[in-house]
């Protein structure tokens, strides 16, 4: 408990004691009305002096309608009407409610702070022949830092020595640790688990992942959700309206039916429920909790406004390469004629060995080219293939167009992927199929998106239609736009934007900044360490698992559900208490419950948003 909370607790305890004494004395000794009155003024003063003092300060500063002032008026009004016991109890309940509220706010602030606790305070750096502990901000690029088991990585860098397991859960939400050894990149915020590591720093603190993630989550509060703004605007008019109706209630009816005191009593109830705290605290808190829960799962949401949009996602447009497929080509089959498969692959790889095209890279990964191979006179046919002399044989590698052009009879293949036809010394020798592999869990991810409420999934790709269709069929995508140029992607996204339901674009963040910003929600995945994608996207999935998108949508739905519950519940209770009070069935106890009681309940409900349960 903070000092302030402790003082409040003492005030409450003192008042409760005095109230008990007053009740006992009142029972034992018959007192005149003014004696009893004075007896009850003591506990009232003990618990309420602070509220009255703050109210006075508020009025002095021109803040007429603050909570202290309204509570002050309500209880002083009750005292004036002779309802002294009620005045004391109401002030007491109000203070207890405020104390609970303050404790609940403090608790959720701490759980949010714990989420942010991913940056170590010191880094152990090699300087002047010894290890020194310095602040991560003071470490320069190129310096060497040491990580003992249990240490958090302070800055982004590359392992220069050692091997260990890294716990990346704080950043990616991924429970399986990642193995690193010399030469691997390490990302700040991860925890070194098993071995001693020395790391060469590659990024200053301000540019390290951990600093970026922290900044992003903290500034997320600035991009407020529409409902958050609506609540704030509503709060601004709510209090004056309720106070005005209280005044009307106190003045108008007595003119016709009389009973001045009775109507003032009813009006006082209005003043007590006129504070919009339950809404103003709990709605932003829920959004914050939702953003916190998402970041715990490795999903960075750049503001409440995107949680609101995520809830209403109806269309997902996805990139193919890097999102649904792995984005690295592999040799998937070899069909040789008159050669062994091994020989054909050797010749093909040798002919392509001078190229840095992804296809050539895939060939190089598939086989080790014989060291004695001699490759000469390489001719490239742009967009069609390549010809080279390998160990004296003329090897032609390319697509159907190239085979037709060189008038080589061949057997066409309908394999999915890129088919390389190979001819040796003018005779068809078979084909090699190279394709992009589906990501593990891609089909399950698409199914999970749909289970989370997505109606339509559309895939954009620059790839051939046959390949794209095959990928789409394998993972359950509804619609395919193939053979697109990069600029076409924006057009295809624009075509699908609609008024009902939001459009979400998910890509790997490479070259898709324009599309990311054009969609209602741009999601970049596998963005760990990629600055451009973190900049351009609205939601960032820290690892490259497409199923995380379904988790993000679920968190958004839960958050919005809690927001709506809180808005509805607080308003319903307040309106009900006002209605009861207007007809004379309410009392100040009910009113205090509608004020602080509802607020505490709304805060407790809001804190559920912090929990991730898939």
């Amino acid at each position: 408990m903070t000092k302030k909370q402790k003082r409040a607790l003492w005030r409450i305890l003192a008042a409760t004691g005095l109230l008990a004494v007053a009740a006992v004395i009142g029972r034992l000794f018959p007192l005149p009305w003014w004696g009893e009155y004075l007896l009850y003024l003591l506990p009232y003063a003990a618990v309420g002096y602070r509220v009255l003092w703050d109210a006075a300060r508020g009025v002095a500063a021109g803040q007429m309608l603050d909570e202290n002032f309204l509570m002050g008026i309500a209880t002083v009004g009750a005292l004036a009407l002779g309802e002294y016991a009620e005045a004391v109890f109401v002030m007491l309940f109000y203070q207890v409610g405020e104390l609970f509220q303050s404790i609940a706010v403090g608790k959720s602030r701490r759980s949010i702070a714990a989420l942010m606790d991913i940056c170590p305070e010191t880094a152990t750096v090699w300087r002047d022949g010894e290890w020194a502990n310095v602040s991560p901000e003071d470490v320069a690029v190129g310096e060497t830092v040491r990580l003992l088991p249990g240490d958090r990585v302070p800055l982004d860098g590359v392992v220069s020595e050692g091997c260990s397991l890294l716990d990346t859960a704080a950043l990616t939400g991924e429970p399986v640790p990642r193995q690193v050894t010399a030469g691997d990149a390490v990302i700040s915020g991860c925890i070194n688990q098993t071995g001693l590591l020395t790391v060469t720093v590659t990024h200053r603190y301000g540019e390290s992942t951990v600093a970026k993630v922290l900044e992003l989550v903290e500034t997320a509060a600035e991009r407020k959700a529409t409902s958050e703004n609506v609540v704030t605007r509503f709060a601004r008019v709510y209090t004056p309206i309720v106070v005005a109706s209280a005044v009307l209630l106190a003045v108008l009816p007595p003119l016709f039916v009389g009973g001045f005191g009775e109507w003032i009593g009813r009006a006082l109830n209005f003043l007590v429920v006129s504070c919009p705290c339950a809404l103003v605290i709990s709605v932003p808190m829920t959004f914050f909790g939702g953003i916190g829960a998402a970041s715990k799962a490795g999903i960075l949401v750049k503001g409440g406004i995107f949680l609101e949009a995520l809830e209403r996602v109806k269309t997902v447009v996805t990139d193919k390469t890097g999102t649904i497929t792995k984005g690295n080509f592999e040799v998937v089959s070899v069909n040789a004629l008159n050669f062994t498969d091994e020989q054909l692959l050797q010749l093909t790889a040798a002919a392509e060995s001078g190229s840095s095209h992804p296809i050539a890279e895939a060939l190089k990964r598939a086989i080790d080219i014989d060291k004695n191979t001699v490759v000469s006179t390489v001719t490239e046919f742009s967009g069609k293939g390549i010809q080279a002399t390998v160990n004296g044989q003329t090897v032609l590698v390319g697509n159907q167009k190239l085979m037709n052009e060189k008038k080589i009879p061949f057997t066409a293949s309908d394999a999915i992927g890129t088919v390389l036809y190979v001819a040796v010394d003018g005779t068809f020798a078979g084909h090699v199929v190279i394709a992009d592999r589906l990501k593990e869990g891609a089909a399950e991810a698409v199914a999970a998106w749909k289970a989370a409420g997505v109606r339509r999934v559309c895939m954009l790709t620059g790839d051939r239609r046959e390949t794209a269709d095959a990928v789409a069929a394998a993972v359950g995508i509804d619609e395919v736009c193939a053979e697109l140029l990069p600029a076409d992607k924006v057009i295809e996204v624009e075509k699908r934007l609609s008024a009902d339901g939001k459009l979400l674009y998910v890509g790997d963040g490479i070259n898709d900044a324009p599309v990311l910003s054009r969609a209602d929600i741009g999601v970049a995945m596998g963005a760990l360490g990629s600055d451009a994608a973190i900049e351009a996207a609205d939601v960032v999935l820290m690892d490259d698992k497409p199923e995380k998108l379904a988790v993000a949508i679920k968190i958004a739905r839960k958050t919005m559900r809690i927001v709506r519950q809180n808005i509805f519940f607080s308003l319903a209770v307040k309106v009900a208490v006002m209605a009861l009070s207007a007809v004379g069935l309410g009392n100040l106890y009910l009113a205090v419950f509608a004020d602080v009681g509802v607020c505490v309940l709304a805060i407790l409900n809001a804190m559920r948003a912090l929990k991730v349960d898939g």
């Binding site: 500063a61 803040q63 603050d66 602030r109 509060a221 600035e222 504070c275």
Partner: protein
Amino acid sequence: MKKTYRLEELDCAHCAAKMEEAIRKLSGVTGASISFMTQKLTLEAEDEKFDEILQQAAKICRKIEPDCRIVF
């Protein structure tokens, strides 16, 4: 220039919204945001008037919530 400050004893969410609104209206302020949850004020204002604006912002906070202080 854009800077972030901690707000001590910020206990009332409604007040935070009022402060934010009032600080935004100060001349020379291009952006202001108060997060009740992180107890932080982010102020974006013209460089030459920044210190003066910060003083005014502190005054606004004191006025709306007497115990609330900006930690410079």
